[in-house]
Amino acid sequence: MSETMLDVRVWRGGDAGAFQTFAVPRRANQTVLDVVFWIQRHRDPTLAFRYACRVGMCGSCAMTVNGRPRWTCRTHVARVTNAGRLTVAPLRNLPVIKDLAADLAPFFAKWTKAEGRFMPKAGLGPDFAVVPPESRERRAADAGIECIGCAVCYAACDVVAWNPDYLGPAALNRAWTLVNDIRDGSPTRLKSVAGDAGCHACHGQEGCRRHCPKHLDPTGSIAGLKRASALAALKGEL
């Protein structure tokens, strides 16, 4: 492909589909999402994909770009193109709705299974709870709290591919932030995230950490859950 054009292969259809090739003009500072937009506006208005904020906050626009899961609104074409070629596909490990839009329902169902919501302790009192910023728990929670739910880690994880029941890095990372929230009082969260479909299934390959666009470390969070659940098991609290 020439220096002024990109050779872009885009997935079309559902789980069963095929790649369609488009020639897209190159632009300075062009992102992968810009490329997909260009195709929709100038070549095929039926191309389906998901996006919202376009500034790396909402986690909606993740796709597989040249074989790796990425947030497309913050991924510059110049950084990922392979000799002017781009292959854009929906996220792995999720059903495909149409074209580049993956169905995130199973991903968020696992957040629910992992008790990924705040459950306040009884007796917190009427005033604001004070969580010391330098405390060990607060720092552990802070390290994982910036997750935007983009499912890049879920698509990158081989354990999810092998074991469809596995809760996955994002849900487990969320559970770990709540285990470290001193205001949270769920008595069952560790039970929900331990075991064959939970933290103990993780191999520690760090695909999630490597691909996370927010540079979080879900593998570290999962290791924390392993330690916490083992300790709880020893104390007879699991």
Binding site: G195, D196, H200, S229, A232, L234, L238
Partner: protein, 112 residues
């Protein structure tokens, strides 16, 4: 398998791995450093036979293997062969028992 047992199995595998790291290093280190007249059965038996310290060491080694290896096999079988449930737990226990028996027999034969 409930989550409490699953968490304790994880702990057992980690703890046995830590023990095995030391045991394997001592075992291989001894093989490499202590050999004088070639790696022969006679020289090995001359070194370890009747030694209470080596007996304790190899008991610990054999039992750590009997804990560690079946738990690893169990994880692989669950993931690769999709084998779960009571039959897998039984097979894991059987593998642990077999490894413990073979290991202890070998130690008994070595120490005399």
């Amino acid at each position: 398998m409930n989550t409490r047992v699953e968490s304790l199995f994880w702990l057992a595998q980690r703890a046995s791995a830590a023990i095995l790291a030391v045991c394997v290093a001592v075992h291989l280190g001894t093989m490499i450093l202590a050999v004088r007249g070639g790696l022969t059965a006679a020289e090995i038996l001359g070194r370890v036979r009747g030694s209470a310290a080596w007996e304790v060491f190899y008991w610990v080694f054999a039992l750590a293997v009997a804990v560690h290896a079946p738990l690893g096999l169990r994880a692989i079988l669950r993931e690769w062969a999709d084998w779960r449930g009571p039959s897998l737990e039984g097979a894991t226990a059987l593998a642990a028992l077999a490894l413990a028996v073979f290991g202890i027999r070998a130690v008994a034969g070595l120490i005399g």
